[in-house]
Amino acid sequence: MITYLAGMRSITLLLYRVTLLVTLLLPLSSCFSLLPKYNEQVAGQIEQVAKQVDRFYLNMLEHATPEERVYREYQWGYVDIEAELIALERKNRIRPLNKESARNCQLALNMWRDYKQQHKEKNTLSDAIIELNRTYMNDMFFTIQTGEEAKR
């Protein structure tokens, strides 16, 4: 009888421990998130706008001399890319736990607006400035893409 009671007690204790573990720890796996889930659509959009910026500057280098690179000829390109960057920033801002990525998109947008202003003021861009702007935007996009890929 004593053995039976001791056995029952140890089973009860085990069940108690298991229930406690299940209750306390299992919900953690779904609740304890530090980052939003990887978003393929956002990753694709980063890739697309990065390509768009690269194409914009490569076309400028290939198809126009510095004298032909007047701002008016490129203003729609600037506006298109700015709109894409605004959309990307908004998409990232509304995702929960995504403060860092949203900030990075805001920084990229600010840089792009500065390059637009630079072109507007000079009304031309030298090859060296185009190459510099490409480098700065590429490095920024690499940083943003790496952040999104880390969420996989």
């Binding site: 299992l26 060296a128 880390a150």
Partner: protein, 104 residues
């Protein structure tokens, strides 16, 4: 089947060590890549300035953009670090989940 606390703890520690190691390696490699990019970008900027391609205002803008990229890189390192911690948490909870399921 009995619930072996020692084994579960051992498995959890193994997950922490493995995932922690992976996370540290990833962060180190990323910081190295960022450092190389920053060096090359600054060299390119200073070269253009020395060649008279940039005005003082241009240079000030690029220096500001270097600061912005550094901030973004710091944010990304934070994301990668959080992802590593998340992997550790998921791994540890996974070990517990398996152990509990085996008992149930």
């Amino acid at each position: 089947m009995a619930f072996n606390f020692d084994q579960v703890l051992h498995d959890m520690l193994a997950v922490v060590t493995a995932q922690g190691g992976k996370g540290t390696k990833r962060v180190k490699a990323l910081v190295q890549t960022f450092a190389e990019q920053n060096r090359d970008r600054m060299e390119q900027t200073m070269q253009a300035y020395r060649n008279g391609e940039l005005t003082e205002a241009d240079l000030a803008m690029y220096l500001r953009h270097n600061k912005a990229i550094l901030e973004a890189q710091f944010n990304t390192v934070k994301i990668v670090g959080k992802a590593a911690v998340q992997n550790i948490i998921n791994g540890v909870v996974g070990v517990l989940e398996q152990a509990v399921r085996a008992v149930i």
